[in-house]
């Protein structure tokens, strides 16, 4: 009887082990696919290769995916791979030697980390982003403006002052002479926005582009003080690029009217 019990107990374990192994196998196959296809265009191209990797701030995700597609269409045989993330994390990765060709950062400070380490060529500002008040769809908690952020009874999410969106928020509140009463200081702007989308906070301070990217889950509200904390995005090609010509071409495309129009649609302002 005892053995029957232990046997029973092992079944779920075996099931989970099997699932784990299977998912590992699947992810291994999935991972191999893009790697397998990536080198082929580069081998049939010129000696310099036709593939680049672009590291970009998370807020650029939607716009850069679009720009990447257009760029590949205009440059047959080229392949642009993106890695999106927190600008600070990406800057650390570049300094640590991550193989990449272009870096588009959400703040001059994070770009400076890379240029100080002599890992990037001269950066250029390509867009700017302003803060907006994000409220749950339909503004159910009747937020009327920035002054509500100083109301203790309200549930408010801000970015932590250590990250770019939080630093911009500090500037805005200083300008408006409001002492904010946040309930949570989020690690990045998407986390703050998610709390709004779940209707767990009455309002959050996020970027205009994030409000647009969130679609109809949240509503955005502009406020005058946002103009005092405009966040400029720099872009640069990297010194370690295996394909500097294509990297430069991508950067030029981002700065071109075509690239700028995609970015404007995503809510960015021209720098």
């Amino acid at each position: 009887m005892k053995t029957a019990c232990t046997h029973k107990a092992r079944q779920p374990l075996a099931f989970f082990a099997l699932t784990a192994v299977l998912s590992l196998l699947l992810s291994a196959c999935g991972g191999a696919q893009p790697q397998g296809t990536a080198p082929s265009p580069s081998s049939e191209g010129s000696a310099t290769g036709r593939a680049i990797t672009v590291l970009a701030a998370a807020s650029l995700t939607e716009a850069f995916n679009q720009i990447g597609k257009e760029f590949e269409a205009k440059n047959p045989g080229s392949k642009v791979t993106f890695s999106f993330g927190s600008s600070a994390t990406l800057a650390t990765q570049i300094v640590q030697g991550a193989p990449a060709d272009v870096f588009a950062s959400a703040s001059p400070a994070t770009m400076k980390v890379v240029t100080d380490a002599a890992a990037a060529n001269a950066p250029k500002d390509f867009v700017s982003n302003t803060l907006e008040i994000a409220v749950p769809k339909g503004n159910p908690h009747k937020i009327s403006g920035l002054k509500d952020f100083g109301d203790e009874s309200r549930r408010i999410a801000l970015c932590a002052p250590q990250v770019p969106c939080g630093a911009a928020a500090v500037k805005v509140f200083a300008e408006a002479k409001i002492v904010p009463k946040p309930d949570t200081l989020e690690q990045d702007v998407k986390a703050a926005l998610q709390k709004v989308a779940f209707d767990e906070v009455d309002a959050a301070l996020v970027y205009k582009t994030d409000v647009i990217a969130a679609g109809d889950q949240v509503d955005g509200m502009e406020f005058p003080e946002a103009q005092k904390a405009i966040n400029v995005y720099p872009i640069a090609t990297l010194k370690d690029s295996k394909n500097p010509a294509l990297a430069q071409a991508f950067m030029d495309y981002v700065l071109s009217p075509e690239g700028q129009s995609v970015l404007t649609k995503a809510g960015f302002a021209q720098s």
Binding site: K2, C5, A9, A160, D183, T184, A191, Q194, E200
Partner: protein, 289 residues
């Protein structure tokens, strides 16, 4: 985990000395030389676990230790972590041991299904766990919405949310551990007590609980460690505010963004405190069984 053979050593002191002798006899083969076949993978496992910790200690900028560790943020986060993890484990014990006892009943029909369900928080990414908690206990959640309407209270962004998140991820560790101990324990002692007229509560108190004491202790330690390290569900469900919801792992994560050196120091601090607490518990508590 003690092998089933060594079990009677804890409880069998009364019945006979010959049983203890038999235990000693089975232990003897293990006291010889460790076969190479086991020694090599065991050494690999040990190195794999310990080297990253050594790296943490070596790379931490010790010259900055005083300013980082004396800063208000670190101690506040540490205090919050220790308090919430301890409260969580108390809750986990209060509800987890009874659940394990029911699961371990020999003729429970839905046992394997229940056991699979209980394992879910183990395989679920903690961030998903945090979102799941929102759907039930958030301000717009199943239970959270009526609660908020009636009282104006909502769990997210309070220390209670930190505790809920920790209980959610830590509970399975205790339940599985205690259930394992119950299954491995010799049920005949309970049957004997029952035939001698002991009531169920007396049997649980006087026989079952002492019998599975080491299992409960091991489960509680696992649950405490898991609660202390909890990150994903906490940052999602409880948010991140100094003093109320920013536990040590959240403090470390935020420090990584700006000052990786202080993140290393904070990690070493959390590591040191948890090792110290576990060592102390082992001395005082576990050895008594």
């Amino acid at each position: 985990m003690p092998s089933p053979d060594s079990k009677p050593a804890h409880v069998g002191a009364k019945p006979a000395t010959q049983r203890a002798a038999a235990t000693r006899a089975t232990e003897r083969p293990w006291q010889g030389r460790i076969p190479l076949l086991l020694a090599v993978p065991a050494a690999v496992a040990l190195l794999f676990l310990l080297l990253p910790l050594a790296g943490l200690v070596i790379r931490a900028p010790w010259t900055e230790a005083r300013t980082v560790l004396a800063g208000a943020g670190a101690l506040q986060a540490l205090k919050l972590s220790l308090i919430t993890a301890t409260v969580s484990v108390i809750i986990v014990l209060l509800v987890g041991v009874p659940l394990a006892w029911i699961l371990a009943r020999p003729n429970l029909r839905a046992a394997s299904l229940l056991r699979a369900l209980i394992t879910i928080p183990l395989v679920l990414p903690p961030v998903v766990g945090g979102v799941a908690l929102f759907t039930v206990l958030g301000r717009t959640g199943l239970i959270g919405r009526p609660l908020y309407r009636l009282t104006g209270f909502a769990f997210p962004f309070t220390p209670y949310a930190v505790i809920l998140a920790q209980v959610f991820v830590a509970l399975p560790f205790l339940v599985l551990s205690v259930e394992g101990a119950l299954r491995a324990s010799d049920r005949r002692y309970e049957e004997a007590a029952s035939t001698l007229g002991a009531r169920p509560v007396t049997i649980i108190r006087r026989i079952t609980l002492p019998l599975i004491g080491p299992g409960i202790a091991a489960g509680a330690v696992l649950a405490w460690a898991r609660a202390l390290g909890e990150f994903g569900a906490t940052i999602t469900f409880a948010g991140n505010f100094p003093g109320t919801t920013r536990t040590m792992p959240l403090e470390v994560y935020l420090a990584l963004e700006t000052d990786p050196g202080s993140a290393l120091l904070l990690s070493v601090l959390l590591l040191g405190v948890s090792v110290a607490v576990l060592a102390l518990l082992r001395e005082r508590w576990v050895s008594r069984w």
